[in-house]
Structures are given as structure tokens and as C-alpha cells.
């Protein structure tokens, strides 16, 4: 029904940051797994460095 329409504005429970469907072809796209992996890696790295220091 309202398919082609953007649903971004209806996210009432979504937080303070708004995401729309529109994306620029120039944008660098990150895989969500990369985000989690980076987070875990940084956490482990900092903890390890704290141990050796």
C-alpha cells in the first residue's frame, strides 16, 4: 500500500538517531558483524595491554 514510501519517520520508539531508507552510492557500507568484531577486538586489546603494562 504505502510501499514506495519511506517508513523512516514512523519509528516512534527508535532512538534519537534517525535512519532513513535512502542511501548514497558513495557511502562506505559496513557489515554489522564488523561492528561487533571491532568492538570485541578493541575491548580485548585494551585489556591485554593493561595486563602487560
Amino acid at each position: 500500500m504505502d510501499k514506495g514510501q519511506n517508513t523512516g519517520g514512523l519509528m516512534s520508539s527508535a532512538g534519537l538517531v534517525r535512519y532513513f531508507d535512502a542511501e548514497d552510492s558513495n557511502a562506505i557500507l559496513i557489515n554489522p558483524k564488523t561492528v561487533i568484531a571491532t568492538g570485541v577486538l578493541i575491548g580485548v586489546l585494551v585489556q591485554l595491554l593493561t595486563f602487560v603494562s
Partner: protein
């Protein structure tokens, strides 16, 4: 050439998390959400490299409950930068100074890019004073890593980098939850932080824990005066004793929020072509949700940060000085807390010990306390209403946008012509009024809950946010499950 053309090359290239292609099964969504939540808790437990162990003042202070994150951890800034960036965007967008039309795909891309850039700038701006203004995150004197020795300035730089990375990580973690999970990351982090404090407030096995305090009282290890003279009753009620008032406030806020969520004005709708297909459009009392409240609190928080930073520069003196001149009207501090001046009056009330002047625990005069309560109330009630209006406008929940949505779904209000303008007129009778009343009410509730105290010092705002976000999350999960069971619904709602 406007700012849009000038900023376009930068804003369109901001890295973004990939959107899922096609439908993400509900179980997968839950898994993403749980994964991010675990990562959040993991990161809050990693202490910054190079920090001096021991006690240090948290720049966020009492605002920590709302702004999530953990002091001295990688997630030091929590969602603070995101909230501050959002305030800027809300104000600019609400006053229509940006000139961005969020229905236009190109402007949407710009909006997203601007939002991200602002958060990153704010992360740096929040992290800078935390590390370099002294006292908040004390750096070690020296640090040796693999034969290389850092001096204290280098360590500060190292800490700044870690905090900055943590802040950016939070931003992307929120994006992952928003695109791949249930609800939003920010909501999730707030619930996580508040729940953790609430549970700790109940079960911590040291003095201050609700159950532990009662254990002390019942076994006679805590002095409770005579119940007849009032002393004993006082101990049982207050936050350093039996915490009965805090318990009641906490429970009452739960009940009020859940009840208020169901208070609504329903506008009847019928389908223009399908006879008998009827629906209702609910205008809820807490229409704009409680999220605008976090913006008001963050505004107060930023004022307090300013005071804290100025105070950290004054050295031993208790009075804030600027350019070598002491300014008592701006603020005087004792133990890192404002006790007089501008920064005292603009500090929110947190606890009974902040305002119950007749108990003798408050250092200020009654009239000073009164002014502070007045300022806090005004700030929260009026600020709550204003930010609720902006919120409704920027999230497309205003009369114009909702009228368009109803029109697009083929519905109309029975007894009225099928016309966007007509629906908008009817909506204008309800939405602005309900928004203002809801916003002001939530502000009032938050101040009232803070005055009476809450279990685990989660603060009224924290509790309000946590309960209403959880409620929304529950609604969202229910909707997800319905769509999971009836794939037809997905097509109807256009969610692929």
C-alpha cells in the same frame, strides 16, 4: 551555493551500517540485539588503559543513570554525545533552519550524514575536557608498553583516543540495533544501565542496598529510634534507612507510566472503498514518548559540566574564577558539588537530602532550596513541552504528516470529506494539545520522583525512560510476532 552543496561530498560519504536485504526473521533480530547488549556490557567493564586506579569524580555525575556508559571504562561518554548532537539537530530542525526536507531521499542522506558528523564532533568535545581538564580521569605518571615509555601527556592522548573510539563504537552499535535488531540501541543502553542500577540498588550486599538495609534493621544492627517519637519512622522511610519512600516512588512511577501509555484520544477511521473496514488512530497522552525528556536533562547536564570544568580549574578555592576574578554568583563548590550561585540553582534535585531543609541535612537556606526546586520544575515542565513539540515535528508525528499517512492508507474520518486538509484540521485539534500536556506531565513526574528518591538512585528521568522504552519495545515485539505469523501483514505495512 548553499551549505548543502558544500557539505554534500563529506556528508554522503559517512560510513554507514549496511541495511539488511529482505526480511530479517524475528529470532535473528533478537540475536543481533542480544549480541550488541553483550558487547555493551563487555565494553563497560574494560577499564581505560593508562588510568590511575582509585576514586575520581565522574563528570557526568548524577546524569550517568540517563546517559548510560560507565565511568573510567571504554564507554566513558555513553550516549552523551548522541544526545547532545540530537539536541542541536532538534533545535535546528524544529526551527526549520536546516532547510532539509526529510521526504526527499537526497536530503535524507544529508540528514543522516550531518547527524553522524555531529555525534563524532560531540564525542571529541565531550572527551576532551574529561581527559585534559584534570581530576575526572587521572592519568598514570608513566606507562611502559613493550619497552616504550609514555609520559603523562602521551597517556592522556592515549586515553582520549580510547574514549573517542568507544564513543564512535556506541554510535555504530546503535545503528546495528536500529537496522538489524529490535528497537534502538540508545533505548537498549538506557534500559541496560537503569536496570543494572535498579537491581544493584535492591540486592547489593553493602549498606545502601534495599534488602541489606532491611536485614540490618531487622537484626538490630541499624539504629532505629522509637517509632512513636517519629525518629524511627523517619529512618524507615528515608534513603539511608528503610528506603520505603524510594520503593513506593519507584513502584508508582512504573504504574503511572504503564497507565499513561494507555490513555489516549482515539480518532475513528473508516476505509473509503472497503465498507466495514474500520480503524482508530490513537493520539496517546504520552504522544511524543518520554525521549524528549532526555534532551532536557542533557541540556541541564551540559550546564553542570561547564560548572564542573570551571571548578576543576580553580584549584583549592571553592569559588569559580574566570580570568583571575572570583565569581561567587556563578558558583561555589564543596566536595565537587555546587553549593551556591548559578550552577547550584540550575542543578536538578536528586534526592531528599537536596531539599528537605527542615531535617538539617541541607546546608542551604530554605529560600535557596525553593528557588532551586522552582528552576528545576520550570526547566523540566516547560522544556519537556517544548522538546515534545520539536520531537513530534521532526519525527513526522505532527498533524500534517499523520494526516498524509492516513490519507495514503486510504482511510478517512467518517462524517468528513476525504481530503488531507480536513484530516489535518481534525488532527490539529488534538495532537498539539496532547503533546504539550504529555510533555509537561512527564517533566513534572521526573522532578517529583527525584525529590522523593528512587531505589538505586536511578533518578526519575532514568526510571521514566526505562519503563516507557520497555513498554514500546514490548509493543514492537508484539507487532514483529504478528508480522512473523502473518506474512500478509508485512506486505500491507510495506515492511519487507
Amino acid at each position: 551555493m548553499g551549505w548543502k552543496e558544500a557539505a554534500e561530498p563529506v556528508l554522503t560519504r559517512m560510513p554507514a551500517v549496511r541495511r539488511p536485504e529482505g526480511h530479517v526473521p524475528f529470532k535473528r533480530k533478537l540475536a543481533w540485539t542480544a549480541g550488541i547488549l553483550m558487547l555493551y556490557f563487555f565494553l563497560t567493564n574494560i577499564q581505560l588503559l593508562g588510568i590511575e586506579a582509585g576514586q575520581a569524580d565522574d563528570l557526568f555525575g548524577e546524569f550517568r543513570a540517563v546517559l548510560a556508559g560507565e565511568h573510567m571504562s571504554l564507554l566513558q561518554v555513553g550516549i552523551g554525545p548522541i544526545v547532545t548532537a540530537s539536541i542541536v539537530l532538534q533545535l535546528l530542525g524544529g526551527a526549520n533552519l536546516l532547510g532539509l526536507d526529510t521526504d526527499d531521499p537526497r536530503d535524507q542522506v544529508l540528514y543522516q550524514g550531518l547527524q553522524k558528523l555531529l555525534v563524532i564532533v560531540m564525542t571529541a568535545l565531550t572527551a576532551l575536557p574529561m581527559v585534559f581538564a584534570g581530576g575526572f580521569l587521572p592519568a598514570q605518571q608513566s606507562l611502559t608498553l613493550g619497552g616504550f615509555t609514555f609520559d603523562s601527556t602521551q597517556i592522556q592522548l592515549l586515553m582520549f583516543t580510547q574514549i573517542f573510539i568507544g564513543g564512535v563504537l556506541i554510535l555504530y552499535m546503535d545503528e546495528v540495533v536500529s537496522k538489524w535488531g529490535v528497537g534502538s540501541g540508545i533505548g537498549l543502553f538506557i534500559i541496560a544501565g537503569v536496570s543494572q542500577r535498579l537491581v544493584t540498588g535492591f540486592i547489593q550486599p553493602t549498606e545502601g542496598g534495599f534488602f541489606y538495609n532491611w536485614y540490618l534493621i531487622l537484626t538490630g544492627q541499624m539504629e532505629v529510634g522509637s517509632l512513636v517519637s517519629g525518629d524511627g519512622l523517619y529512618t524507615l522511610l528515608m534513603s539511608d534507612g528503610g528506603q520505603i519512600i524510594a520503593l513506593l516512588t519507584t513502584l508508582l512511577i512504573f504504574a503511572i507510566v504503564v497507565y499513561a501509555e494507555s490513555v489516549r484520544v482515539e480518532i475513528p477511521l473508516s476505509h473509503a472503498r472497503v465498507k466495514g473496514a474500520r480503524g482508530r488512530f490513537p493520539v496517546k497522552l504520552i504522544y511524543a514518548s518520554v525521549l524528549p525528556m532526555i534532551l532536557v536533562r542533557a541540556l541541564q547536564a551540559n550546564i553542570q559540566f561547564m560548572g564542573q570544568i570551571l571548578n576543576s580549574q580553580t584549584g583549592d578555592s571553592t569559588v569559580i574564577s574566570l580570568f583571575g576574578r572570583e565569581l561567587p554568583w556563578l558558583g561555589t563548590y564543596s566536595d565537587g558539588q555546587p553549593v551556591g550561585g548559578f550552577f547550584y540553582y540550575t542543578a536538578p534535585i536528586y534526592d531528599t537530602t537536596d531539599w528537605m531543609w527542615w531535617t538539617g541535612e541541607v546546608a542551604q537556606e530554605a529560600w535557596m532550596v525553593m528557588i532551586r526546586i522552582g528552576v528545576d520544575l520550570t526547566f523540566m515542565v516547560i522544556g519537556g513541552a517544548i522538546f515534545a513539540i520539536f520531537w513530534v515535528e521532526t519525527t513526522n508525528m505532527g498533524p500534517e504528516a499523520t494526516a498524509q499517512q492516513i490519507q495514503n492508507s486510504g482511510m478517512q474520518i467518517p462524517g468528513f470529506r476525504q481530503n488531507v486538509g480536513v484530516i489535518e484540521k481534525v488532527m490539529e485539534r488534538y495532537i498539539p494539545q496532547v503533546t504539550v500536556i504529555g510533555g509537561a506531565l512527564v517533566g513534572l513526574l521526573a522532578v517529583w520522583a527525584n525529590m522523593l528518591g528512587t531505589i538505586g538512585a536511578v533518578t526519575g528521568t532514568g526510571l521514566l525512560l526505562a519503563v516507557s522504552i520497555t513498554y514500546k519495545l514490548y509493543e514492537e515485539i508484539a507487532e514483529e510476532q504478528m508480522m512473523e505469523m502473518h506474512p500478509m501483514m508485512r506486505e500491507m505495512f510495506g515492511k519487507e
